[in-house]
C-alpha cells in the first residue's frame, strides 16, 4: 500500500456532521487520500457519502473535525476559493450560455485574459472530443455530450482535485460504460485526484484505485476493488458488493485459521474466520455464487459439503444461474460459466455442494 502511505493530499480528520443536532449523518470520519488517487465513495442513499463530498466542496460545513487540503485546513474557506473542480449529477451546465461560455466562466471569474481564455477552452473541449460543439447550447447536446462538457468545465481551470457526484447516473448503460473508461483515462492523463460518489458498485469497482464503502455514516471498508470483492470485512460489504449467498449459524470451534460453523438450517461447514473470534458467537457466512462447486472432483478431499435441492435453472447466455435450497435458505444462488462441458441442473434434483474454506467467510451476524 505504497499509495496510502504517500503524503496526504486530502484528509478528513474525525469529521462529524449533523443537520438537526440530533442525528449524526457522518460519524467520525477519518480518510486520507494521496495525490493522484481515484477514490470512490460507494454506498446506499442516505449513507452519508454525498454529505462528505459536499463538505469537501464547501457547500456543507463539518459539525466537528477538520478537512485538510494539501496540508491546510479548509473548514473556513468558502467554496469559490477552494479551487476544487466539481461535476454534478445533472451536469448543471448553465442553460443560457453556450458550451464555450460555460467553459470560459471559471476562467473569466479568475480574470484570465480573453485570448488565453479562448485557447484554454479550445484545448479543454478537444480533450473531451467536443471541439466543434463550442457554439452550441447545452440543451442542443445529448446526455453523453453534456457529460463531456461538464467534465471539461470542471477541469478547465486546472483544478488538482475534482469531485464527481454520480455524474453518470442519467446515462444509459452503454454510454455509461464508455464514459467510465473515458473519465478514468482523462484522470490518469492529467494526474488529478478524483473523489467520485456513486451508488453503482460496478462503476466503483471498474474505475477506482480505492473504494470507500459507506453505510450508516461510517466507512465500512476502504480497500482496492479486488480486495473489497474478494475479502469483504463485514456482512454489509459482502452483501453490498456483488452477489452474495448468506447462511446463518453459530461458531462451534476455531482452530488453525479455520472456523467450524453449525448452520441454523442444519449442517456443518468450514469457514474462514474473518469477523468472529470465539466459540458460540453467531455469524453470517458469506459465499460468492461463482465460488460454489457441485462437481465433487474439483473439491478438496475432506472438505465439508452440504446437500442442496435445485429449485430453478435460469439460462443467461454467458452464465447459468441456478437457485438452490441450502440449509433452509431458498435463495442460494450458484453461477456457472456456459462452458461446453457444463452441467445443466434440473429442478428437483438433489445435489452435493461445497467450496474452499478460504472462499467461505464467517462475518459478523
Amino acid at each position: 500500500m505504497a499509495k496510502a502511505q504517500a503524503k496526504a493530499f486530502v484528509e478528513f480528520q474525525r469529521v462529524q456532521k449533523s443537520y438537526d443536532g440530533e442525528v449524526l449523518v457522518v460519524k467520525d470520519l477519518n480518510l486520507t487520500i494521496p495525490r493522484g488517487e481515484f477514490l470512490t465513495l460507494l454506498g446506499p442513499s442516505g449513507s452519508g457519502k454525498t454529505t462528505c463530498l459536499m463538505m469537501l466542496a464547501g457547500f456543507e460545513t463539518a459539525t466537528h473535525g477538520d478537512i485538510m487540503l494539501d496540508g491546510v485546513s479548509i473548514n473556513n474557506i468558502p467554496p469559490h476559493k477552494r479551487g476544487i473542480g466539481m461535476v454534478f449529477q445533472n451536469y448543471a451546465l448553465f442553460p443560457h450560455m453556450t458550451v464555450a461560455e460555460n467553459l470560459a466562466f471559471p476562467l473569466e471569474v479568475r480574470k484570465i485574459p480573453k485570448s488565453e481564455r479562448e485557447a484554454t477552452v479550445k484545448r479543454a473541449l478537444e480533450m473531451v472530443q467536443m471541439g466543434q460543439f463550442g457554439g452550441r447550447r447545452p440543451a442542443q447536446l445529448s446526455g453523453g455530450q453534456q457529460q463531456r462538457v461538464a467534465l471539461a468545465r470542471a477541469l478547465v481551470f486546472e483544478a488538482e482535485l475534482v469531485l464527481m457526484d454520480e455524474p453518470l447516473g442519467a446515462l444509459d448503460k452503454q454510454l455509461r460504460e464508455h464514459m467510465q473508461f473515458e473519465i478514468k483515462r482523462i484522470a490518469n492523463n492529467l494526474g488529478i485526484t478524483v473523489v467520485y460518489v456513486t451508488h453503482d458498485q460496478t462503476e466503483a469497482l471498474t474505475m477506482s484505485d480505492r473504494v470507500a464503502v459507506f453505510d450508516d455514516g461510517r466507512i465500512q471498508q476502504l480497500a482496492p476493488p479486488d480486495e473489497l470483492y474478494e475479502s469483504p470485512q463485514n456482512s454489509f460489504v459482502a452483501q453490498f458488493i456483488g452477489e452474495n449467498n448468506t447462511l446463518e449459524g453459530v461458531v462451534k470451534e476455531i482452530a488453525n485459521g479455520v472456523a467450524l460453523v453449525q448452520l441454523d438450517g442444519g449442517g456443518l461447514i468450514d469457514c474462514n474466520p474473518v469477523n468472529v473470534s470465539k466459540t458460540g458467537e453467531r455469524t453470517k457466512v458469506s459465499i460468492r455464487p461463482e465460488r460454489v462447486e457441485f462437481n465433487k472432483g474439483r473439491l478438496q478431499p475432506g472438505a465439508h459439503t452440504l446437500t442442496a435441492e435445485v429449485l430453478e435453472f435460469i439460462y443467461m447466455g454467458d452464465i447459468f444461474r441456478t437457485r438452490l435450497r441450502v440449509a433452509g435458505n431458498n435463495d442460494f444462488i450458484v453461477k456457472t460459466r456456459n462452458a461446453p462441458d457444463q452441467v445443466r441442473l434440473e429442478p428437483g434434483a438433489q445435489i452435493e455442494i461445497g467450496w474452499l474454506p478460504s472462499d467461505c467467510r464467517a462475518l459478523d451476524a
Binding site: 464547501g58 454534478f88 445533472n90 448543471a92 448553465f94
Partner: protein, 424 residues
C-alpha cells in the same frame, strides 16, 4: 400487399384514402371536445368578443346626424364649406323640415348632444330651435334662412354649418382625432385649443406611472419570490399565504385602507409626526397625487409579479449556484451571471401582467389618485357615465387595446413569448 400507390396518396387496406379515414376516426373526438368547451366559448363570445367588437365599431360609427337630418346632409353636400358664405335657402329649408320632424319625434336632443361634443353651444341651439320649429308651417313660412336666423342667431354663424357638414358622414375619424387632442374641421384635422388638450397627457401619464409601478413591483417582488423559492417548505408556505392574503381581500377594501394610511391626517403621517421626523405643519402629501396611485397600485399588483417569478425561480435547480461557486464565482457573480439570467423569463411574465393590468386600472386611481394621479381609464369612465360621449370612450378604449397588443407583440419580438413562463 401494398398500402400505397406508387405516386398516389396513402391508402387504407380497403382502398380508402388514409387521410379521409383518419379524419373520420378523429371527428367524434373533435365534436366531443367542442361540446365540452362550448359553454365557455358561448359565454366568452357573448360577454367578451361581442362587446369588444361593438366597442370597436362605436368608435367610428357616426349615423346620428345623417339619420336625423337626412335632407340637410344631402343639401349640404353641394355647399362649399370653405367659401366663407352661408349656405343657400335650399339647405335652410331642408334643415327646417328635418328639425321639425326631429322635434316631433324628440330626436333633436340626440343630434344636439352629438354635435355639442364638437362645438359647445350646439345642444342649446338645437333645443331652442326645435321648440319653435314645431309651430312652423313648412309651406308658408319661407324663406327659412331668415326665419331660422331670427329664431337663433347661431344659424348665421358659418362655423355652425361647418360643424354640421364635417360631422355628417356615416363613419368618422373624429373620435380618434379627439382621443389624441385633435379635432376634425372643414380644413382637415387640427389641434384642440390648449384648454381642451388633456387626453395625450393622460395617455403619457398612464404609461409612465404604469412603468414606475412595474419597476417598483420588480424591485419589491424579486427578493420575496427568491425567498419563496428557496426557503424550507414550512416557511415558504407561510410566506406564500402572506403574499396571497391581500389577493383574497376585496380590492375596494385594500384601496380604502391605503386611503386611511396615506392621507394627511392618516396613520403614516401621524406616526412620522409622533416620531418627530416631520413637523405638524409639514405633513406629507402621500395621497390624491401620483405617489398615492403608485404606492397603492404597487401593493395591489405585487402578487401578479411575485407569482410568475416564483414559479420560474422554483424551476431553477440550486445546483446551478453551487456549480458556479465551485467554478470560482463569488456569491454575487454566481447570482448575477447564473441565477439572474435564468429568472428573467419570470420577470418578463410578471412585468407584462402587471403593466397590462395597470394601464387599464380604474378603481384605485379613482380613489387615491386625486386629479394628478388618474389614468386614461378614469377618463373613459367619465365619458361613459357622465358626458355620455360613448364614441370617444370607445375610441380611447380602442387605442388602449391596440397599445396593449402592440406591447405584447414587441415583447414577443424582443424576448420571445416562449420565454415567458407562468409555471415551471
Amino acid at each position: 400487399m401494398s398500402y400505397t400507390d406508387d405516386n398516389g396518396p396513402m391508402m387504407t387496406v380497403d382502398g380508402k384514402p388514409l387521410k379521409r379515414s383518419l379524419a373520420i376516426a378523429l371527428r367524434r373526438q373533435k365534436i366531443r371536445a367542442l361540446l365540452l368547451i362550448s359553454p365557455l366559448l358561448i359565454f366568452v363570445l357573448i360577454t367578451f368578443l361581442f362587446p369588444i367588437a361593438s366597442m370597436l365599431f362605436r368608435s367610428v360609427e357616426n349615423d346620428i346626424v345623417s339619420e336625423i337630418l337626412p335632407k340637410t346632409v344631402v343639401a349640404l353636400s353641394d355647399w362649399d364649406a370653405q367659401s366663407g358664405e352661408l349656405p343657400g335657402e335650399i339647405v335652410y329649408s331642408a334643415f327646417a323640415g328635418d328639425i321639425q320632424r326631429a322635434a316631433k319625434a324628440k330626436d333633436h336632443t340626440r343630434v344636439g348632444l352629438r354635435l355639442n361634443y364638437e362645438k359647445s353651444g350646439m345642444a342649446s341651439l338645437f333645443k331652442k330651435t326645435a321648440r319653435k320649429a314645431k309651430k312652423w308651417d313648412l309651406e308658408a313660412d319661407t324663406p327659412f334662412k331668415n326665419k331660422l336666423i331670427e329664431t337663433h342667431k347661431g344659424w348665421a354663424d358659418i362655423a355652425v354649418w361647418q360643424t354640421l357638414k364635417t360631422h355628417s358622414s356615416r363613419y368618422t375619424s373624429g373620435y380618434f382625432l379627439n382621443s389624441i387632442d385633435m379635432r376634425k374641421t372643414v380644413s382637415g384635422p387640427e389641434f384642440q385649443p390648449e384648454d381642451r388638450q388633456i387626453l395625450v397627457t393622460l395617455f403619457k401619464r398612464t404609461l409612465i406611472i404604469s412603468l414606475v409601478i412595474t419597476i417598483s413591483c420588480i424591485l419589491l417582488g424579486y427578493p420575496v419570490a427568491w425567498l419563496l423559492a428557496n426557503l424550507p417548505m414550512r416557511q415558504a408556505n407561510l410566506l406564500m399565504i402572506l403574499v396571497l392574503l391581500p389577493f383574497w381581500t376585496s380590492l375596494l377594501v385594500r384601496t380604502s385602507a391605503w386611503k386611511v394610511m396615506l392621507q394627511q391626517q392618516g396613520v403614516i403621517n401621524d406616526l412620522l409626526v409622533a416620531l418627530g421626523m416631520i413637523e405638524e405643519t409639514g405633513r406629507l402629501a402621500l395621497i390624491n397625487n401620483q405617489l398615492g396611485t403608485v404606492i397603492a397600485m404597487t401593493h395591489i399588483l405585487l402578487p401578479f409579479m411575485i407569482l410568475p417569478m416564483y414559479s420560474v425561480m422554483q424551476s431553477i435547480p440550486p445546483t446551478y449556484l453551487r456549480a458556479a461557486k465551485s467554478l470560482g464565482a463569488t456569491n454575487w457573480t454566481a447570482f448575477w451571471r447564473v441565477y439572474f439570467p435564468q429568472s428573467v423569463p419570470g420577470i418578463g411574465a410578471g412585468s407584462i401582467l402587471v403593466f397590462i393590468l395597470s394601464i387599464g386600472y380604474y378603481i384605485t386611481p379613482e380613489i387615491v389618485g386625486g386629479n394628478k394621479g388618474v389614468f386614461i381609464s378614469n377618463r373613459i369612465a367619465y365619458h361613459i357615465f357622465q358626458s355620455m360621449n360613448w364614441g370617444l370612450a370607445a375610441a380611447l378604449g380602442t387605442i388602449l387595446l391596440v397599445a396593449v397588443l402592440t406591447l405584447y407583440w414587441a415583447y414577443d419580438k424582443i424576448v420571445g413569448i416562449d420565454n415567458v413562463k407562468l409555471g415551471g
